[in-house]
């Protein structure tokens, strides 16, 4: 009897260990192509030439797999482009599937002690782990995506994804027949809440009758759950969906159920060509090039970089054929306005969905306002999850 119990317990324990190990994933390093054979004799002829400087070692910590077709995939595209730009002046590596937990601290510390001088943490949850590791490695520069805390050698970079969400919202507002939009949301943090709001504001700017339903799945990446949430929203009457999760499952579910949706983070056209209204994409390459250049030139300093359509970090691309020409033009015009700095998504009067005025008429939301958004605007149903 005791044996039985013990083996059951053992099973459970081993299963738990297996899960953690599975989540921890494994590191990968992309081998650089070997030096061209032509270089070798040249080097031999000129032995006095100064030795090539060691390449700058750069590491990326990713929350998902590079093959997620969304968030992490977009970061990795940026990494590859930077590698192309700087060639053998840099040497990049990445670790994927790093959970937003104590494991992240271990992985980031490993990266620093392996001689990486520039480290990118590409998800909100790495903020505290990076903050802990940064003081231990004064000569290493830490870059954290989408957070709000920094240190002497750790700075924050982010993108104004909400600009893409706003333009997507305008298209959704024109395309919806039920006047109900659906949003598959991941983790309740300001970054996500403001995308829900921007999507709704965009839709209401062209169609005041629109309301948005939200389902939170509390995960960044789980295609099954994302699909289930999309199904629930469609069953609840939504006919245009947007998601702030990392896989193309929402778009696919919309395709399957004959509704409309957007791609997010990367161009997702191929996953649901009939449902795909457009993709709100993030292009990390311009920022990664800047950050690496800063580090190479010795001009790296503590600052916050928050890039949007103006800097080429955000765009809405690949608008579908079902989008009428005038709606396409409207979206392009709005993109141009945002690029030229003529339009601010967070312009008063702005009402919360509890009926209180958040921004007065003619007031503009500054970056401090935007990074603290934890309420829904008018038109979003429900309440932001919290334990208060």
């Amino acid at each position: 009897m005791l044996n039985l119990r013990r083996s059951l317990l053992l099973t459970a324990m081993l299963a738990a260990i297996g899960l953690t190990a599975g989540l921890a994933g494994c590191g990968k390093e992309e081998p650089k192509p070997a030096a061209k054979p032509a270089d070798a004799p040249k080097a031999a002829e000129a032995p006095k030439a100064a030795p090539k400087p060691e390449p700058l070692k750069i590491a990326f910590a990713y929350v998902g797999p590079v093959g997620d077709g969304g968030w992490t995939y977009a970061h990795d595209l940026g990494r590859k482009e930077a590698e192309k730009e700087f060639g053998d002046k840099i040497k990049t590596s990445f670790v994927e599937n790093v959970p937003e937990s104590a494991d992240a601290e271990r992985v980031i510390r490993d990266m620093a002690s392996q001689g990486n001088k520039l480290i990118f943490g590409t998800t909100f949850g790495y903020m505290e782990p990076m903050l802990k590791v940064a003081p231990e490695f004064k000569d290493v520069k830490f870059e954290h995506a989408t957070g709000y805390k920094s240190a002497d050698n750790m700075r924050v970079y982010d993108v104004r994804a909400y600009e893409g969400a706003y333009v997507a919202g305008m298209i959704a507002g024109k395309m919806t027949k039920t006047n109900t939009l659906g949003f598959v949301a991941s983790i309740p943090i300001p970054e996500v809440v403001r995308n829900i709001n921007a999507f709704t504001l965009g839709a209401q700017s062209v169609n005041p009758k629109v309301k948005t339903k939200v389902v939170w799945i509390n995960k960044w990446f789980d295609p099954g759950k994302e699909a289930e949430a999309a199904t629930a929203l469609i069953n609840g009457g939504a006919d245009v969906l947007l998601q702030n999760t990392d896989s193309p499952a929402v778009l696919q579910t919309a395709e399957k159920m004959g509704k409309l949706a957007f791609g997010w983070d990367s161009n997702m056209t191929s996953y649901g060509p009939k449902a795909h209204l457009g993709s709100a994409i993030i292009n990390w390459a311009p920022y990664y090039k800047k950050a690496i250049k800063d580090a190479l030139d010795g001009t790296w300093k503590g600052e916050t970089n928050w890039w949007g359509m103006k800097e080429g970090a955000i765009d809405v691309v690949a608008l579908g054929d079902m989008v009428p020409a005038d709606v396409k033009k409207m979206a392009e015009d709005k993109k141009a306005e945002i690029k030229e700095g003529k339009f601010n998504v967070w312009s008063g009067p702005l009402m919360g969905n509890d009926g209180k005025e958040v921004l007065a008429k003619d007031a503009k939301g500054d970056d401090k306002f935007i990074s603290g958004i934890m309420f829904y605007v008018k038109g979003v149903e429900g309440k932001v999850p919290s334990n208060k």
Binding site: L8, G18, G22, Y271, G382
Partner: protein, 304 residues
């Protein structure tokens, strides 16, 4: 009403991969073998099934390929754990990790691709019935096949000589061996059956449930299926009940959220796991109950 019907349909779809994998692992465990490689087998099968589905354009071919991949992968387990009598727990865990890596590597070429066939089905006539049509008769054939499989497995286990043999091997491999049953052969067979079922479940995920291949897409369903067999105290119909129960918890949670019902989604996310723990606690309270249902030789090595 229509919403409730859609909810039932979505629950049945969500529970199907859990049921398929759970029923395969149940047979596994009834013969005394615990294969913790379920998650890995499902991932391998999801990648293989997607690849074949993508190139042939046929969902059936993809599903068969998934099952075959599951069987092949399970043979590695058999070779190690049954042939060489390695520790079953460690072997299974190793295979899960191996499967996760191998599927990610092999599936690299298929990221961003989508399958050419359509995944909507309806049974002519029956699907026109109000309410029940939407709830029960517009599902993918695999949903019904999974239920049929459960029935067949329940019948085989309870009513046939084969079932009796499998159970005997699981209860006391020494006695079964003594009266001349090929214990190891039977176990290789049940493990292969488990592999085929996990393979079907994995291919169902990548071909039908969310028709795409992304790394790690099984997202812990293999582990839930393993928990399910214990949750069901090794009884086939209870596996089905548990699978749909776990499927429904997520769906109900999301449906409530979409309706704007204020309920902490984090709290609801815990429900399936709390349910498993509660059942485990209740079941373990009664030693006789465990002895009655749990295969006595589960997880123990057998030297002929």
């Amino acid at each position: 009403m229509e919403q409730l019907a859609s909810l039932i349909a979505a629950t049945l779809s969500a529970g199907t991969p859990l049921l398929l994998a759970g029923i395969g692992l149940l047979i596994n465990e009834r013969s005394g073998i615990l294969n913790l490689g379920a998650e890995g087998m499902m991932l391998i099968a999801a990648a293989a099934g997607f690849a074949v589905g993508f190139h042939t354009g046929s969902a059936t071919a993809g599903l068969i390929a998934g099952a075959v991949a599951g069987v092949l992968f399970s043979l590695i387990f058999s070779g190690l754990a049954i042939g060489l009598v390695t520790n079953q727990y460690a072997t299974g865990l190793a295979l899960t990790l191996f499967g996760a890596g191998l599927s990610a590597f092999a599936g690299l070429a298929y990221v961003g691709k989508t399958v050419p066939f359509q995944t909507n089905f309806a049974i002519p006539g029956l699907s026109e019935i109000p309410f029940f049509g939407t709830a029960l008769f517009k599902l993918h054939p695999m949903v019904y096949l999974a239920l049929l499989l459960t029935g067949v497995v329940a019948w085989v286990l309870a009513r046939t000589r084969l079932g009796l043999t499998i159970r005997a091997v699981g209860e006391s491999p020494e006695s079964a061996h003594a009266i001349g049953f090929p214990v190891r052969g039977i176990r290789v067979g049940t493990v292969a059956f488990g592999g085929a079922c996990c393979g079907l479940a994995g291919a169902y995920l990548s071909l039908i449930y969310t028709p795409l291949w992304v790394e790690g897409m099984v997202a812990g369903r293999g582990w839930i299926a393993l928990a399910l067999t214990t949750f069901a105290t090794w009884k086939p119909w209870r596996v089905a009940l548990g699978a749909y129960l776990f499927g429904s918890v997520t769906m109900i949670q999301f449906a409530l959220q979409a309706e704007g019902v204020e309920i902490a989604s984090q709290l609801l996310s815990m429900l399936p796991y709390i349910a498993t723990i509660v059942v485990l606690a209740l079941v373990s309270r009664n030693p006789a109950f465990i002895r009655l249902n749990m295969p006595a030789s589960l997880g123990k090595p057998f030297h002929p």
